[in-house]
Structures are given as C-alpha cells and as structure tokens.
Subunit: 259 residues, 2 copies
C-alpha cells in the first residue's frame, strides 16, 4: 500500500507541530510520498520583497513576481528544510517539483472570467508514474512542492490538495494507494469551532446534505471534493485529520474516513 | 564516460548566454550531471530582503538569514528554472541539493580564525555514488544546486567548484569521468584581459610557474587547484572554457585542457 500524505499550510508555520508530524511520517512503514502546501511564509517573504499578494474573487493570482516568490519559498526554503529534516530522521527524502524528472506536467489554467496567471491544473495523465514508482521501489520518499511545469520551460503554481489527489489516483492504477490529508483540525467537524465534534466517517450523500445545510466549513469543501474524486479514481481510502496524529489516522483510530 | 559540467555565476545572470549553454548541454551525448553556482541573484534578492552580504577577509559569511536566502535562490529559483528549461529541451533533469536522496553529505567548516557560518566542506566519502549512478543509468540528468546537508537536519552553503570536483572524483571510482568547468572566459588566459590568449593546455608545473609569476587571475586559482585535485583523484580529463562553447570544450577544440 502506497501512502500519499498531504501536509497543509498552518502546520508548516508551527515548528513544534511540524516536528511531531515529521517524526510520525518518518516512522510510517511502507512506500510513501509527502506533498506539502505553502503556508504563510510566502506571503511574509513576499511582503519583505515588496510583492503584493493579489486576490480576485477571493483567489490568489500568480503573476510573474509571485511565481518567482513561490518557487523560492515552496521549492527552495520549505521543500529543502523538510527534506533535510526527514534525512536526519533516517527517511530517504527526495524533494521535487513537477519539473524534476518530469514528474508532474500540468496545463496552465485557461483565462475565462479571471486570469489566474501562472497556475497549473493537473490531471492523472500528467503524472510520470514509472518515475515515482521507481523511487518508491528503491526506498526513496518523494517530497513534492506545490509547483508543476508545462513542458515548455515554465513552472506553474499548483494546489497541493489537487496534486495529492492526482498523484494518488495515478499510482492507484498500478498499486493500492491511500491518501491522508493532514491539517490543524481533528477531521471533518460537525461544528467547525469544536474539535470534539469530529465525524469518524462521511459518505458522499452525507457530504451533500451537510453542504446544503451550510454545515461544512468553506476551506473543507474543495478538500472533500478532492477526497471523493480520489475514491472515484480508485484510491482505496482517504482520511482527513490532525497532522500530529498521523499514525492514528493511518491506523483508522482518529480523523474522518471518507467513504 | 560521465560528463560533469559546472556552470558558473556570471552565465546564470545572462539569459541569452545561459540559453545557448543549455541548448548545448541538452545535446551532450551520454550520462551527464550539471552543477550550478549562485550568480548575483542571491545578492540582489538579499538586498531587497534587507539581508546584507557579509564578508570577512574577502570571503562571504553564511549566517542564518543568508542560508535562508541561498536556499531560496539556489535550490528554488535557479535550480527549478534550469530544471524546467532542460525538460523543455528533452533533457530529463532532476534538480537536487545534497540533502535530496542524501546525495552529498558535508561537514560544517570548523571555526578557526573566521567563523564562516553555515558553510559545508565536501569530501568524496560524502557522495552517495550509487544514487547518482542509478539516476544516470536511467537516463536522468542530476542538476545540483550548491547546497549540501550535515545529516542532522541542517543545510550548508557549499562551493559549486568543490562539489563538481568531489562528485566527479567519487564517480571516477566506478566509471570514467570528465569535468568541464564552464564560465564566461574562453579558458585559462595568459593575459586575463585578452580572450585570444587562451592556453590550450596547462600542466601542474606550468601552473606553479605562472602562479609564482602572478600571471594567473585570482578567481582562477581555486578553480585550477580543484582541477588538478580532480585529476589526482582519478578524473580522466578536465577542461575549462566558455559556457556557450560547451560542445567544442567536450570535443577538445576549444578551452584549456588541464594535464
């Protein structure tokens, strides 16, 4: 079973939580991949560089300066820190973007109402499965930064939850694969303010009902959409939960299992 | 024959020269590795971030802020741009630092008269030869940023010429290996101001004589010391010359061959 673990932004900004997560990740048995998000560091370093974070309709626009910024912060600072830390824990990490080894080729998002700039959309057919599988077979642990490439020499800013979904879906065609989405909350919560209201399971029908009732937090909706799409694409199990509880999420004793 | 190519700072700052170099590099037949330096971009971005470049006795000090800066610029911006560009030229580049795949483990330089900060010294025994050889055997092209790790979770700023030398020396133990040091000059010049005075060959004895006569440019001395050390360590040939002339340097019709 291949385990694809996504680690979200807020945990990347909290050194102690991140260390607890990395310890648990390093101990995880079997072939595994870590996909990381961006965190607030890009915004903070961007502010020091005079690069303004631009949003249209609540969504970040990646202009040329922003692409440079996220390439520095995601593929440089974050990815290499995670890689060096995992190496010190005996985990043979290899930090990559989608350009490295042509691992993830994406399509630049077409300009419709909004021009998102250098943003890539990913699809299973853009995943270089044999490259990732070879790394896993040799005991290596790919650590994927949320950047892909267009095959024309350009890098593209790409959502880490989406990368997690398509990488797992592509690998699921050749080996049983599961996804663990890790973030700061204990799972999918019935009351977003109360960590004790974590739902142990959620079905697609239950998700639609809760969404209709407005009971699902905004940030959780794309995550759950990705989770259900991954299951549809052949991923065995998807669990959402707290980063530090990674081993219990894998064991099925904590977090929310998506069914 | 494995070809280890070093591309120096000034060429990285000149887009047209860099493109000509990358075209030639992509066309190079056989297993190959690219090691890149830093260029002026780190200083320029550092200035925008308010990170001052500090020098003691003419040598750069890597404090914590500088280490963050070079990790962003070398491992992020430069390394991923080179990787994405090479991918667009049909060259299956994989951008790495020494932390990735534990490829280069270094020792933090001991504090003697000067504390250089987070600077790594490399030795052949720190090179993960089987990892690099496996990549080469599968047709991949490692693109190495000038950063290594200490195995304790720390990254270290490391001279790219030295990385080139030790990587080539380590690989030379398992396969014939050559080094091409590429920079902005046509080779080792008798008169550093005249590109027409390139020496087709230089021997260790001739180097010592020229150095005693003060005829070798300052920046060239460590490069030539690395070149002679590489030959002593079993590297077959070392050539120094202009980046855009890479194919002629490989063919032996341009540049300076080190004997």
């Amino acid at each position: 079973m291949i385990t694809v673990v996504k680690i979200g932004g807020h945990v990347l900004d909290a050194p102690h939580r991140l260390q607890a997560f990395l310890n648990a990740f390093a101990e995880l048995v079997g072939p595994k991949i870590l996909v990381h998000g961006g965190g607030k560091m890009a915004t903070a370093i961007g502010a020091r560089l005079g690069i303004e974070s631009k949003y249209v309709a609540g969504r970040r626009i990646t202009d040329e300066a922003t692409l440079e910024l996220v390439t520095m912060v995601y593929a440089g600072l974050l990815n290499k820190r995670l890689t060096a830390s995992l190496q010190s824990l005996g985990c043979n990490a290899l930090g990559i973007t989608g350009a490295d080894g042509n691992s993830i080729r994406a399509t630049r998002r077409a300009v419709a109402e909004i021009d998102f700039g250098y943003v890539g959309d990913v699809h299973e057919r853009g995943i270089h499965v044999s490259f990732l599988r070879d790394l896993l077979q040799r005991g290596m642990v790919p650590v994927i930064a949320p950047l892909t490439h267009d095959g024309q020499g350009g890098l593209l800013n790409t959502n880490a939850d989406s990368i997690t979904k398509v990488v797992a879906a592509a690998l699921a065609q050749v080996m049983p694969t599961r996804i663990i989405y890790c973030f700061e909350k204990a799972g999918v919560l019935l009351d977003p303010k109360q960590d004790t209201t974590v739902m142990p399971h959620i079905h697609a029908s239950g998700f639609r009902e809760l969404m209709a009732a407005g009971a699902i937090a905004d940030g959780m909706i794309p995550k759950l959409n990705n989770a259900f799409a991954a299951l549809d694409a052949g991923v065995r199990t998807v669990v959402i939960g707290q980063a530090e509880a990674l081993s219990q999420l894998v064991a099925g004793t904590k977090g929310t299992q998506i069914l």
